[in-house]
């Protein structure tokens, strides 16, 4: 039995009377890639934001390894260093080059020397295939390249787990592939990943487990094979059918 890196117990988040999700349990094991799918407004992104404490859950606990990160005396900044986050709209620091974006956390958070940080940042950019764009500013990069820099920026902190919040949703169809390729490689290299996405091809191929969320609950979870071929609930089948059809259509359009 592998030990989970991330344990979520009985999590609840609401804004006023509006409950985003409740009674949510999820374990993420070391090296596992979990893809979370579900209709919009289901709380998938809110869940990710709760995990890296950008939003505080109302109830429940989250453990990162043996530390309860939802406890009051937990140092948020320390927790976030160990949890990499990739955003839908990239959110690169606009005034810094690709290299500067990746370096900032290394010099300011990890307090590395400028030279060591530069070397490490260049290695991370290499990892996402963008070492030659190190001197470019975000405004000079394509969306796909920006997102890959975003991934490198998160990787540079050597996180225990990487969270991806619809990393390809803001991209032109022809730029999605390069980002998924980087993520595929990461998964293969053993990075623990929690991915919210509508890319069913990626989910089917890369995920160890797929979690289907709807209206704040985890409806069903299982291996891609179970979920795509033998879903237990009709709702899962319906959603997957719809989204796969949509995904297929998108590919045809692009071609």
């Amino acid at each position: 039995m592998p030990k989970p890196i991330l344990t979520i117990k009985n999590l609840r988040k609401s804004y006023g009377d509006h409950v985003i999700f409740e009674h949510l349990d999820l374990d993420v094991n070391e090296g596992e890639t979990i893809v979370i799918i579900g209709p919009s407004g289901t709380g998938k992104s809110t869940l990710l934001r709760c995990i890296n404490l950008l939003t505080r859950p109302n109830e429940g606990q989250i453990w990162l390894d043996d530390t309860e990160i939802t406890s009051k005396n937990c140092n948020e900044d320390l927790v976030r260093q160990h949890i990499g986050m990739v955003f839908q709209n990239f959110l690169l620091f606009n005034h810094l080059t690709a290299l500067g974006n990746v370096k900032l956390g290394l010099t300011r958070v990890k307090k590395m020397s400028d030279q060591a940080a530069t070397e490490k940042a260049l290695r991370e950019l290499e990892r996402v295939g963008l070492a030659d764009k190190a001197g470019h500013y975000p405004g000079q990069l394509s969306g796909g390249q920006q997102q890959r820099v975003g991934i490198a920026r998160a990787l540079a902190m050597d996180p225990r787990i990487m969270l991806f919040d619809e990393p390809t949703s803001a991209l032109d169809p022809e730029l999605i592939g390069e980002v998924l390729e980087v993520m595929r490689k990461l998964a293969k290299d053993g990075m623990t990943m929690l991915v919210v996405t509508h890319e069913m091809g990626f989910a089917r191929e890369v995920a160890d487990r797929i979690v289907f969320m709807e209206k704040g609950y985890i409806v069903e979870e299982g291996s891609p094979n179970e979920m795509f071929n033998h879903p237990k609930f009709p709702r899962t089948r319906e959603f997957l059918w719809k989204i796969t059809e949509l995904y297929g259509k998108k590919k045809e359009d692009a071609a």
């Binding site: 890296n52 950008l54 948020e76 900044d77 320390l78 976030r80 260093q81 986050m85 955003f87 709209n89 959110l91 690169l92 620091f93 606009n94 005034h95 900032l104 956390g105 300011r108 958070v109 500013y137 975000p138 405004g139 000079q140 920026r153 998160a154 902190m157």
Partner: protein, 214 residues
Amino acid sequence: MNLNQFISYIAQGTIYTVGVTLIALPAGLLIGTILALLYVYGGKVTGRLMNLYSTIFRGIPPLVLLFILFFAVSKGINLSAFWAGSLSLGIVSSAYQMEIVRGALLAVSGDQMKAARAIGLSRLQAIRYVVLPQAVRLAIPPWSNEVAIVIKDSSLVYALGVPEILRRAQLIAASSQQYLLAYLSAALIYFLLVFLTTRLLNRLENKLAIPANP
């Protein structure tokens, strides 16, 4: 008396004009920036206090504040006319500069802060390394406006007898009876000061612009 002598007599006041500006402007920037940071990141109560500060000092004519500081306060602490004038203009300017910096801080998307926090930067670090550098760039165009205003408002200290450009123009006008010429000379010098400064700031703006593809 020829034009050259005329202008050179008045231009000797430039040192005071520039001096007042060089005190009022940085003082206003320092106070304004600190207050703007408190306004934006300091929570509700602090925000209200800052708003009050801004409302009060933008609501009083600079000349009135100048007189208040000079005649009321300077009796107690023995402030020279030059310093009283410079500091009052600095206080007035700090209220405007606070609004400029506040606007620039708010114009940097909150998402930038989110992304900075996500890699483990503290709030203070995120402000310093991510938000402020971007806000500074956004603040330069409105700030260059404020610089022009402070340079011109420095003429108000003439009322306290500081021998700056306007005061000297007044003196030479009275003694030579060449009123138009005197004030035209003063206007020319002020114009050149403002013109050169805004050109300089334009250059700075272009130099600091973040490169992007068209």
